[in-house]
């Protein structure tokens, strides 16, 4: 699996370099305005995009069929993708955390909470997306990805139109969510891995 991750990291280097300009741009803008969320948002989106780009590179070069002729199991391939997602989500969260801490006035605790929330969102995203990508591939999965990405926004907007009260929930509610959420997301993540194992083991190359 190390080899697979290495391949993805090295392969994405070139791709990422193209976006370095944007990253620096947003970092600087955030520094001078007070829109630090812009930078964080961009980094998070970028971090979500990278593992999926890695998958599309693999699809383009028909890597999977070839990899399976090597001492690599189907499970290895699946796991390496999830691991890549974790690596990028983790790195992005750390960057955002540090950046937010430096640029904004938010205290340590809030920054930590926010970063943690972002990380969980990332994991949730991958948990939903990866099985879909495995089943239908990146090209066909693109539309689904966009829908999933926009879904939370759409739901919230619809709910608020209906009249759902989004006034700040109580401290207690927040704390409960903060405690439960990680476990729920981890469970979904693990379930997603097993689902992916299932899907991939049946796939004919």
């Amino acid at each position: 699996m190390k080899g697979l991750i290495l391949k993805d990291l090295m392969g994405l280097k070139k791709f990422s370099k193209n976006y370095l300009i944007f990253i620096l741009f947003y970092a600087v803008i955030g520094l001078f305005s007070n829109m630090y969320a812009l930078f964080s948002g961009f980094i998070m989106v970028f971090a979500f995009m990278l593992p999926i780009t890695a998958v599309s590179f693999d699809e383009r070069s028909k890597w999977d069929s070839y990899a399976l002729t090597m001492p690599i199991s189907r499970k290895d391939i699946v796991l390496s993708r999830y691991l890549l997602g974790l690596i990028f989500a983790g790195a992005a969260v750390v960057i955002c955390f540090v950046y937010t801490l430096i640029t904004s006035g938010e205290n340590f605790g809030t920054s930590l909470l926010l970063s943690g929330a972002f990380f969980l969102v990332g994991m949730l995203f991958f948990s939903i997306i990866f099985p879909i990508l495995l089943k239908v591939g990146v090209e066909k999965g693109r539309l689904t990805m966009i829908i999933i990405f926009l879904l939370p926004t759409v739901i919230i907007m619809t709910l608020s139109k209906i009249g759902f009260d989004f006034s700040k929930p109580s401290e207690q509610t927040l704390m409960t969510i903060a405690w439960i959420a990680p476990f729920v997301v981890i469970a979904i993540f693990v379930a997603s891995i097993f689902l992916s194992f299932r899907i991939y083991s049946k796939k004919e190359m």
Partner: protein, 281 residues
């Protein structure tokens, strides 16, 4: 020991069935796997590699079941598929780093000597490679971890004769070790004529024959004669007929044919053509 053994292997699709495939490749030998496009060559190779799952039969690689042992046995096989499947942004130095972490027996020195023999530029990425260079890279990767069995699926098609000759040389070197074997599918029969010990011919999902190259050239011949002369010959010796306006060409069993006839050597390609076009059994 057989390097490769397929026993009654079957795979059914809607429009195509691979039917009772039996192949045995003794260790230390090279087997050419020929057939026209769509005959089932790639399907067979994918079954050997368990890229697709067989419906029936057994497949043994280096004496072990290809599904039960799976991952471990693939340390000992080198595979070249008909496309170079590397990440387009990587150069061969980076690819070596990746492969080193995949194969236990990866040898950097071996890989270095092969890529320099093939004159592959370390600065170029796979995206910038020509088809020939891609194939050479694939072959270098396949050989660098000292496999015992090479499985090649149309590894030389799309290459110019000079590149193909270079590659055949590499294969000849590989086979100097008696423990090494090669299974190669190709429709460039001239390459197979040069290097193979055995030829297996597949047609419409069935194995038509499996002979040593010598057996083929000793068994079959192309008879050139007139219609009248053909009529006088024992029908059981004739395997296929091609008529032109000035005479007949027939694929015959040359040994049994007595008499003063013009019999040319039959190339693998000609044997294939007669079998396919004339529906020889």
């Amino acid at each position: 020991m057989n390097a490769l053994k397929l026993e009654n292997v079957t795979k059914k699709y809607d429009s195509f069935t691979l039917d009772n495939i039996n192949i045995e490749l003794p260790q230390g030998c090279i087997m050419g796997f020929v057939g026209e496009n769509g005959a089932g060559k790639s399907t067979t190779i994918k079954l050997i590699l368990d890229l697709i799952r067989r419906d029936g039969g057994n497949i043994e690689i280096l004496g072990q079941d290809n599904i039960k042992v799976g991952k471990e046995i693939r340390e000992d096989i080198g595979v070249v598929l008909d496309e170079a499947c590397f990440h387009e942004n990587l150069n061969h130095v980076q690819i070596a780093k990746v492969m080193k972490n995949i194969y236990k027996t990866w040898d950097d020195k071996n890989f270095e000597s092969l890529v320099s023999k093939f004159s592959l530029d370390p600065k170029k990425t796979v995206k910038e490679y020509s088809r020939g260079m891609k194939m050479k890279l694939s072959i270098a990767v396949a050989l660098a971890h000292s496999p015992k069995l090479l499985i090649l699926d149309e590894a030389t098609s799309g290459l110019d004769p000079i590149a193909r000759d270079e590659i055949l040389d590499v294969f000849f070197d590989f086979i100097q070790d008696e423990q090494h074997s090669i299974f190669m599918s190709s429709h460039i029969t001239s390459d197979l004529e040069k290097i193979c010990d055995y030829i297996t011919f597949i047609h419409k999902g069935k194995i038509v024959f499996c002979h040593t190259k010598d057996e083929l050239s000793e068994t079959y011949g192309i008879l050139k004669c007139s219609q009248e002369e053909l009529d006088r010959i024992d029908k059981s010796l004739i395997k296929g007929i091609r008529k032109n306006n000035f005479g007949i060409e027939a694929l015959v069993l040359r040994d049994a044919l007595k008499g003063n006839f013009i019999i040319d050597n039959a190339s693998i390609e000609e044997i294939m053509l007669f079998f396919v076009k004339e529906n020889v059994k």
